[in-house]
């Protein structure tokens, strides 16, 4: 068992060890848990930000609008992510020692590459599908459940009218969510009433859990 004297000595020593003091030491210990840094966005690296900006300008072309440049920027960022993963793979090839560990790490890095490639593919599709004219922005988001703020602002008011019309014709909220269950309940109750030849007590359909299995079980006629 640890003596009191030893415990006090441990506490005194622990107070002296408060981690690295110098800036270099702190910077180094901040990277203790860092494996490859691929989970962090490339945009957090100032050097890579410059690469992204250069590539985005090359993709968008000369005299591109801000919106087109923004779309190109997404492609560029995703491409830089892909290249970062490939660089990490290259580093792994260079320092591989154990086949088992090497292939496991390679598979893990492959997942990052797959995600980055997927992001880039969709960014490219959005870039290609960009509207030619400024007034056609809403067409790009037609049919989407959550269009961007820009598209919402530029979209005609027709959709809002249609929503208002629909709300009047169709119940919303609590009732809308429960209508199918209510219909099923009524159908079963009618069936049970017809089979048993007597009306069921109204108490069964009152209360918060009136659609629960426990209550529904009473509605099934005995065989």
């Amino acid at each position: 068992m640890t003596t009191e004297k030893k415990r006090c000595a441990n506490q005194r020593n622990a107070r002296k060890c408060t981690g690295p003091c110098t800036a270099a030491g702190k910077a180094r210990s901040a990277c203790n848990a860092l494996r490859h840094g691929l989970a962090r966005s490339a945009r957090l690296d100032p050097g890579l930000m410059r690469v992204i900006a250069t590539l985005a300008r090359a993709i968008a072309g000369e005299g591109a609008s801000a919106e087109r440049l923004e779309r190109a920027d997404r492609i560029a960022a995703a491409h830089v992510e892909v290249m970062r993963v490939r660089k990490a793979k290259q580093d792994l090839y260079a320092r591989a020692r154990d086949w088992d560990d090497f292939t496991k790490r390679l598979v893990k890095l492959d997942r990052y590459e797959r995600r980055a490639l997927s992001r880039r593919k969709f960014a490219m599709r959005r870039f290609d599908a960009a509207p030619a004219a400024e007034g056609d922005v809403w067409l790009e988001h037609f049919g989407k459940t959550k269009p961007s703020v820009v598209a919402r602002a530029k979209r005609p008011q027709r959709r809002i009218v249609r929503c208002a019309r629909g709300r009047a014709a169709w119940p919303s909220g609590w009732l809308r969510r429960r209508v199918p269950r209510r219909r099923a309940f009524l159908a079963e109750r009618n069936h049970a009433s017809a089979c048993s030849g007597k009306s069921l007590p109204r108490t069964l359909i009152r209360g918060a859990n009136r659609f629960s299995d426990k209550n529904m079980r009473h509605l099934v006629p005995p065989i």
């Binding site: 860092l34 050097g47 250069t54 090359a58 990490a88 086949w99 088992d100």
Partner: protein
């Protein structure tokens, strides 16, 4: 572990798309040749197509690299399969003999050949046992090879689809231009 450094900013010959990421033992000239051949075949029209061309080259290179690595794995771990085979054949000091055979020792090679011949086996049995010893690693490499091939094919499909769409748009524009020209010959 090293972190991913900011070497992407250093572009060798591929412009803004970043440097060719080669590993030790790979020829930069061979990569450049592959990239040039793909670029000549595809003739990229803009930056997006340049990115696809670069990716197709990178992925084709990776497929070749992974196949090479698999072959290297089989060669580097052949003594493990041989050791398993000699142990099953109850050869004495099988581990030492396998290690010496792997190092190219002539006497060990003679012992191995004699033991395998006596059991009616060939070196294929050693290869099979090596695969069974390292089946997890082989499977992972195969999986990555297949993934790289699928991605490469996917890039080509994207490129094909984009060009088909572009061709359709051009055709429509040309048709409209033709309609306008026939409707008003003076404007044409």
């Amino acid at each position: 572990m090293n972190t991913v450094t900011n070497e992407l900013a250093m572009s060798r010959d591929t412009g803004v798309l970043g440097p060719a990421l080669l590993i030790a033992g790979e020829s930069g000239d061979a990569y450049d040749d592959l990239l040039a051949r793909i670029r000549a075949a595809v003739e990229p029209a803009d930056m997006l197509e340049e990115i696809w061309v670069r990716d197709v080259a990178d992925l084709a290179w990776e497929v070749a690299r992974l196949r090479r690595i698999k072959a290297s794995l089989m060669r580097a771990c052949a003594h493990e399969g041989l050791s398993t085979a000699l142990r099953s054949l109850e050869v004495r000091n099988y581990y030492v003999i396998a290690s010496r055979w792997f190092a190219g020792d002539a006497e060990a090679a003679r012992i191995v050949d004699a033991a395998l011949a006596a059991a009616g086996l060939t070196i294929d049995a050693v290869t099979a046992l090596t695969v069974s010893e390292r089946i997890d690693e082989v499977e992972r490499i195969e999986k990555m090879t297949n993934a790289a091939e699928e991605r490469r094919d996917g890039m080509l499909r994207e490129l094909e689809g984009r060009r088909a769409e572009l061709a359709a748009r051009l055709k429509l524009a040309l048709n409209e231009a033709g309609t306008l020209a026939t409707a008003s010959p003076a404007a044409a």
